[in-house]
Amino acid sequence: MAAPILLTESLNLFYGNFQALKNVNLSVAGRRITSIIGPSGCGKSTLLRVFNRMNDLVEGARVTGRVLLDGEDIYAPGTDLLSLRKKVGMVFQRPNPFPISVFENILFGLRVHQLAGKSKDRLREIVKESLESVLLWEDLKDRLNGLATNLSLEQQQRICIARLFVVRPEVLLMDEPCSALDPLATARIEELMQELKKNYTIVIVTHNMQQAARVSDDTGYMYLGELVEFGATQKIFTTPRDKRTEDYITGRAG
């Protein structure tokens, strides 16, 4: 296995006095899909938001331990948060495009990073590439000026994924990206993830065990802030080592 892209060492996270992550040691391999499963409130979202330091926005949140991205500690003092978040993109649970045009939604990241001064043709090309990589270009190429919020939820979620690409991320974090979608749309997003995995490293949080089993290469099971077990998805789902994992995947807990 290649060197991990993301690595946590003795990671603890506190919300005030409440410890939400307990000594988490996790390694995420490049160009693979890693899923995090576990019962509600066990800290999956919290763990995900460690990787792009979105927890910094929560008042009173405190992190100890190390988190390495490409070998560099992203919690080291002096870390450039903006370039970290460029490298590590995030897709949220509810599709949340801005209530502006598809075109403007895709280019939002560009505008922020002041890669402006590009010609209209170049911008259109960028939008095209982004939408192509989420397989939306054919559907939307004549509707680029329409409101993104008028599209179907699945299309909206694809736009939220596409909007990450303009800033050239390496890692995509997805927090229950399909929980607002119907089964068909979910299947198509899962297909898309397989496609994206060729170029990106994906970490997905999901409530849906079948989804984790279907899409991911590695799986981690969390329980009450601990990473109970981590390994190849197949192994976790067929021969879990820990009793708690077994109870969860066989439906006896959670």
Binding site: M54, E59, L82, R85, M90, F92, F108
Partner: protein, 284 residues
């Protein structure tokens, strides 16, 4: 004792509520009706574009219209940037709830200050202390202070109504806080900010007391030349016509009132139109 049947009670309650509503509408309709009836005959092109003549007993009201326009524009120029910055600070940056509460209290109090007090304050501060004299500048600043609470309150409400997820997405894409405010928050709060500003404009256009000591000229049949000039203004002009000048044709008074009323109502309708337009489009 016999109790009334529920249906009858219902009828009576309905009638009382309906009558109360009617009672609110009636005076408004009556005022507008009277002013329209008596003033419409006076309002024509000359009335709107000519200087007053013969001690305001003839001619038009152009300088008062222009004066009001300048004052309102000045007030917005002063109060909008200031109020918007304060609102952004309070809603996006300040986490200190004590400061927030203090400012909210200050705003409520500011909104409750009688307008004549604003006038005296403007007289003391802008006319006197800063030596602007009675001028458009002093009057604008005074009006600006008066509409500041409206602008801050409505801007804050508009900013708070922008979903947190917009900020989250923007930050997660690597935007700075300032970029997030500029690109992901402000554009979506703009309609609300605009609405509040227009309501402020309507208020500023109609007030007499704040301009009484700070800018208003009794009779100045020419257009203002600079912001240090005095100027006529519609509300004060109306007051002068009605109480200080004998033998003014009622038509001219009502015509002036009509113009003022039209400006203020137009502003309010514009605000309502903007709000409902964006409310219909809004999807989050």
């Amino acid at each position: 004792m016999r109790t009334l049947s529920p249906r009858l009670t219902q009828r009576i309650a309905f009638s009382i509520l309906f009558a109360a509503t009617l009672f609110v509408i009636l005076p408004v309709a009556f005022i507008i009706g009277v002013i329209l009836k008596n003033g419409l005959g006076a309002v024509n092109w000359e009335f709107l574009t000519a200087m007053p003549r013969a001690s305001m007993r003839e001619g038009g009201i152009l300088p008062a219209i222009v004066g009001t326009f300048c004052l309102v524009a000045g007030a917005v120029l002063f109060a909008l940037p200031l109020g918007l910055c304060a609102a952004i600070y309070l809603s996006e940056y300040s986490k200190d709830s004590r400061l927030n509460r203090a400012v909210r209290l200050a705003i409520v109090n500011l909104a409750g200050v009688p307008s004549v007090v604003f006038g005296l304050f403007g007289l003391a501060l802008f006319v006197g202390f800063f030596r602007f004299g009675a001028s458009i500048l002093a009057g604008s600043l005074t009006l600006g202070l008066m509409i500041l609470p409206v602008i801050i309150t409505s801007s804050r409400e508009a900013l708070d109504a922008v979903p947190g997820s917009f900020r989250e997405v923007s930050l997660s894409l690597g935007a700075t806080k300032l970029q997030t405010i500029k690109y992901a928050v402000l554009p979506h709060a703009l309609p609300g900010i605009l609405t509040g500003t227009i309501l402020g404009v309507g208020r500023a256009a109609g007030e007499t007391a704040p301009i009484l000591f700070t800018v208003a000229a009794f009779y100045l049949p020419r257009l203002p030349r600079s912001i240090f000039d005095q100027a006529m203004a519609l509300p004060y002009h109306l007051y002068v016509l009605s109480t200080q000048v004998p033998n003014v044709a009622p038509k001219i008074r009502y015509g002036t009132a009509l113009v003022l009323l039209a400006i203020v109502l137009l502003m309010n309708f514009l605000a309502i139109a903007i709000r409902s337009h964006f409310r219909a489009k809004k999807k989050w």
